[in-house]
């Protein structure tokens, strides 16, 4: 695997991969064989950031350990059954987003529900999962002007990702639907409904089934 090592200050190594799948696979490999002295890891769309304890290891040792990882192929979906997210597909941007992709809204819904998504990384807000898939591209640009208020439970698309807003916040993703499933609950362990590496299937439900 061709990866690039970038310096991110005294105690972090940023590892850049050619593709998102490579980054996800490297992360999965890292879970299987932790690197001594690496105390925290975070994932990005093409990158992995490793935080190391300078009393235990150093940059060169961390980089050598990453280079020696043997990642599997593809998105490395975990064995666990996918987490089901029931969605009412009545998002404000559903029609526009389908038009951007040159398909009908029903075809967009079929594409969104007909594939397994994997959480590549978390960020933006507690419980926000950046979901990726292997299927035909659903890449759409973000909205030119982000909304100041996106409701909790809104399901969206942006770039190569799909995601669910865990709480009300500003946001620039294209909204195609909504779910009642709480994405973040401090009373739950783990609090995030969809941790990194977890698989997700979206299912279509009608508004009556979710009671609004």
């Amino acid at each position: 695997m061709t990866q690039r090592f970038l310096r991110a200050g005294e105690r972090d190594v940023l590892v850049e991969f050619p593709t998102l799948a490579d980054a996800v696979a490297a992360r999965a490999a890292l879970e299987g064989s932790p690197i001594p002295g690496v105390t925290d890891a975070a994932s990005g769309a093409r990158t992995l950031m490793l935080h190391f304890d300078q009393k235990v290891t150093n940059r060169a040792a961390v980089e050598a350990a990453v280079a020696a990882l043997e990642p599997g192929a593809g998105l490395g979906v975990r064995e666990a059954p996918p987490i089901e997210i029931p969605v009412v597909y009545d998002g404000e941007d559903l029609d526009d987003t389908a038009a951007l992709l040159g398909i009908t809204p029903d075809e967009l819904i079929a594409a969104h529900t007909g594939r397994t998504w994997v959480c590549a990384f978390g960020g933006f807000a507690p419980g926000f999962a950046y979901l990726v898939s292997d299927g035909a591209s659903l890449d759409v640009p973000r909205l030119a002007a982000p909304r100041t208020r996106v409701p909790a439970g809104a399901v969206g698309l942006a770039g190569e990702f799909s995601g669910v807003y865990p709480r009300e916040s500003p946001g620039g993703w294209r909204l195609i639907g909504r779910t009642e499933l709480p994405m973040w609950d401090l009373a739950r362990t783990p609090p995030a409904a969809v941790p990194v590496g977890a698989a997700v299937r979206f299912t279509r439900v009608n508004a009556a089934e979710v009671g609004r």
Partner: protein, 294 residues
Amino acid sequence: MSALEVTAVGLLATVQDRGRFGFLDQGVGASGFADRSSAALATRLVANAPDAALVEVLFGGLAVRARGAVEVAAAGAYCPITVTTASGRMHHAAMYELIELADGDELHLGAPTAGLRTYVAARGGVDVPQVLGSRSYDTLAAIGPAPLAVGDVLPVGAATAGDPVVDAVAPPWGVGEPPAGVVLDALLGPRDDWFTPDAVRALRTATFSVSPVSDRIGVRLEGAAPLERAITDELPSEPLALGSLQVPAGGHPIVFLADHPITGGYPVIAVLTAASIDRAAQLTPGQWVRFRVR
């Protein structure tokens, strides 16, 4: 069990500890002390364990009344301190020394003469419930014990980590006139190659000014000229290290502090050293900043 009752709050006072680790994948960052070295010094003065929680005070204005005897110490931004007893007698106390509060004594922090954030530690630690393994309030994620409000009662834990070894230390900084500016140390990368050679040169030579629009998430800096990008593509979201000097679309850098976002889509030109992150957390609006870049 002794406690501290909050009787006044300035701009913002929060409970903080070393931070929350292991939740990056779930969208929750570390948070914790913005100026770690000042917090560690306050912690050591009262002989607390390094993971004890304390109160981080933004620009003074905090007052707390002791319920039972409580020993406290303050470090960081240099504030005048007074103690008013239950019978109404007032005396002065000082930063960087042990302050014995008797039952009913009220401690008050004035506005700092230098710096921004003061750390008030109580012997035994601020013993509020942990959220995800930490007592830090994360202003970005809105997780942890809520910012202090008048009437809050902060339980103080039992002292477990030995006895204080000194009564006072010499203030490491902040006495006298605040400096007009500071020099911060930074390491180039990870994305310095996304900027023009002129922008990298400007980072080494230009003087930036601290914007009032700064908080625990980051210190916004304004330079004379924006830092120009050589690569104008959109950067796929990537993790951010504490102390990152991120350059958003406008070209004016932000120094990311304790509550910074976990990932970002703008390139980071350099990352501050640990000591300089602490200095950055004490910058006040209008001060100038220059960078010593390696």
